[in-house]
């Protein structure tokens, strides 16, 4: 996928000297900053107009953005197409739901448990999936998720096809202050904060030598061992990382919805995440976030007109693959850099 590379080159601060920090901020991060400001503006307007519905919808979009970011780590940075990332998202959601309902209504305990489960499952899944490459990798990830989804679907203790309901709303404590997941604005801001943290942390990691070795694997995996890297270990590491991100995102889902269902693990969830990444911009991390907001909004708006909203999503996916080769973010960045160049050439 050479499109992704050009984006990375744009976002590559390179080995430039100690220039001022702001001017070194890569264009893609500017986009993330603009996005954050817009999200806060949206929150203010929604709160002022007392519109809880849109806040909760936006929260859901951000939760699925976490899943999309985890797909982007694999697809955009390492060149691995996972068609089963919903496995880890659903796992995180179920573990979180079980902890909140049966163990303790603690946000941090639920997140920690989901992280642990995601990491362990990612390790097992990664060892299995990384035995093969390319299409076979995609098929194995697909198969693993289907097996897990069907198992959950048929397990009465996990609510079978009904899923788990009655997940309590909780208070999230940060030392002296705490917020309520039942309050749409508070929970939106919490999830926004987590999304920004994930974006910043993952961007950092993908720009560190670790992430750049992943880029090397994507560019030419066969060459990597001759440079002293064990490509298999790197691919396993990023697979586990992606599983953890997906599980943490999933852990937030029952806090928002109060229930979990096996659909969270189904292929539709995995497939939607891949579509989100491609529409948003592969290998950018901020692209998947924007893509998730766009597609969630569309699904909701179009869904209120017609049941056949998937047709609209499908058409948008095709159009973006054909006309926005670098996704939403690619198009925006091209515009930004054109404007930047115009500004620089002007005296």
């Amino acid at each position: 996928m050479p499109e992704a590379t050009t984006l990375r080159t744009l976002s590559d601060p390179g080995h430039a000297g100690p220039a001022s920090r702001l001017s070194r901020l890569a264009p893609v991060h500017w986009l993330a900053l603009i996005f954050l400001v817009a999200a806060l503006g949206f929150a203010a307007v929604a709160w002022a107009t007392g519109n809880g519905f849109y806040l909760r919808l936006a929260t859901e979009a951000l939760i699925f953005a976490g899943l999309a970011m985890s797909v982007d780590l694999l697809l955009g940075y390492t060149g691995l197409l996972s068609l089963g990332q919903a496995l880890y998202f659903g796992l995180g959601a179920y573990v979180s739901a079980l902890v909140l309902r049966d163990v303790a209504p603690s946000f941090w305990l639920a997140m920690a448990a989901a992280l642990l489960a995601g990491g362990m499952a990612g390790l097992i899944g990664g060892v299995i999936a990384n035995r093969v490459k390319g299409v076979y990798f995609a098929l194995i990830t697909f198969g693993l998720a289907q097996v897990a989804a069907k198992t959950v679907y048929n397990t009465r203790a996990l609510g079978a096809s009904d899923g788990l309901i009655g997940i309590p709303q909780i208070r999230v404590g940060f030392g002296p202050v705490s917020l309520d997941t039942a309050d749409p604005l508070s929970f939106f801001l919490l999830v926004l904060g987590l999304t920004v943290t994930a974006y910043a942390g993952l961007s950092y990691l993908m720009d560190a030598p670790f992430g750049r070795t992943l880029a090397a694997i994507r560019a030419n995996e066969k060459r990597v061992p001759f440079l002293g890297f064990n490509a298999w270990r790197y691919k396993l590491a990023v697979y586990v990382l992606a599983a953890c991100v997906a599980a943490l995102a999933g852990a937030l889902y029952p806090m928002l919805r109060g229930f979990v269902s096996p659909e969270l693990m189904f292929f539709e969830t995995s497939g939607n995440a891949v579509i989100t990444v491609i529409v948003g911009g592969v290998g950018t991390l901020v692209g998947p976030v924007m893509g998730s907001l766009l597609l969630t909004a569309l699904r909701s708006v179009v869904g209120s007109w017609t049941e056949h909203h998937l047709i609209v999503v499908g058409v948008i996916f095709m159009l973006s693959v054909i006309f926005l080769r670098k996704g939403l973010v690619g198009a925006l960045l091209a515009r930004l850099s054109r404007r930047g160049e115009a500004g620089r050439t002007a005296p």
């Binding site: 390179g14 030598p209 001759f226 002293g228």
Partner: protein
């Protein structure tokens, strides 16, 4: 460590130079085809040893066996006396063996500097992989030095895929050098190069020897004869002759197999 003593061995000590890379009875068959059959030789430390032979002689397969790309079905490879037969390429690199490829094998979608930085990253401590790239000072300095040495400084930010063929061939060698190996395998480094570039590359390879043990596959016989300290001749998967360039050139079997027709 033997590594240190090898590096300080003066290049003038022709006789009794330590063997940096030893190959003994190395064999592999693909299905029924014996691609490399019982090949053995020693590459003296700090010297240039060349492998020549007609197309299909098994030279590149020999390189693949030595560099861990393919597992041999028989025989041994030793690095400074240590058996490294069948080790994976990344472990061989850690042991000091690097290679270049006949068909340019770079990260074409990454910048030239980044190609070299990635290749030099093994010089850093493992945890530097999780710190900002700027902290990998040694790798960055190495990459800069190689850019300079290979005349690629002006192209540092260019994507490797956008370089000319000659520049890509130079970068291919530079990437192999970035990990500061003690033994370097060069697979037809001058492949497709212009006459001038070939001469430059020859001079460069000459300058590498001394610090480095070079094993070279090369088609340009003039270059091989002027560069090499030792020449191994292969034909149909077997070693048919070896010796100093003058001796090999005079060998009738070599003439028949390689210089042919003339």
């Amino acid at each position: 460590m033997t590594a240190a003593s090898l590096k300080t061995t003066p290049i003038t000590a022709t006789a009794g130079n330590a063997c940096a890379l030893g190959v003994r009875d190395l064999s592999v068959n693909f299905g029924g085809l014996q691609a490399v059959a019982g090949v053995g030789f020693e590459a003296a430390a700090g010297r240039i040893t060349s492998v020549i032979g007609p197309n299909g002689a098994g030279k590149s397969t020999l390189f693949n066996l030595i560099s861990g790309a393919i597992r041999p079905t028989g025989g041994r490879v030793t690095l400074d006396g240590v058996d490294v037969t069948g080790r994976s390429p990344d472990r061989l690199l850690a042991a000091g063996l690097a290679r270049s490829f006949q068909i340019t094998n770079l990260f074409f979608e990454l910048p030239v500097l980044e190609n070299l930085r990635i290749a030099a990253q093994v010089l850093e401590r493992p945890w530097h992989a999780l710190r900002p790239v700027g902290h990998s000072r040694r790798a960055l300095a190495k990459a800069d030095a190689l850019l300079e040495r290979f005349g690629l400084s002006a192209k540092a930010r260019e994507l490797a895929g956008n370089l000319s063929h000659g520049e890509q061939r130079r970068l291919e060698i530079a990437v192999a050098l970035a990990a500061e190996p003690r033994v370097l395998l060069l697979d037809e480094p001058t492949q497709g190069m212009s006459h001038g570039d070939t001469a430059d590359t020859g001079a460069l390879i000459r300058s590498l020897a001394g610090d480095l043990t070079v094993l070279l596959i090369e088609h340009d016989i003039g270059l091989v004869m002027s560069l090499s300290d030792h020449v191994v001749v292969m034909a149909q998967g077997r070693k048919i002759a070896e010796g100093p360039p003058a001796v090999v050139r005079a060998d009738l079997a070599v003439q028949a197999a390689y210089f042919g027709h003339g």
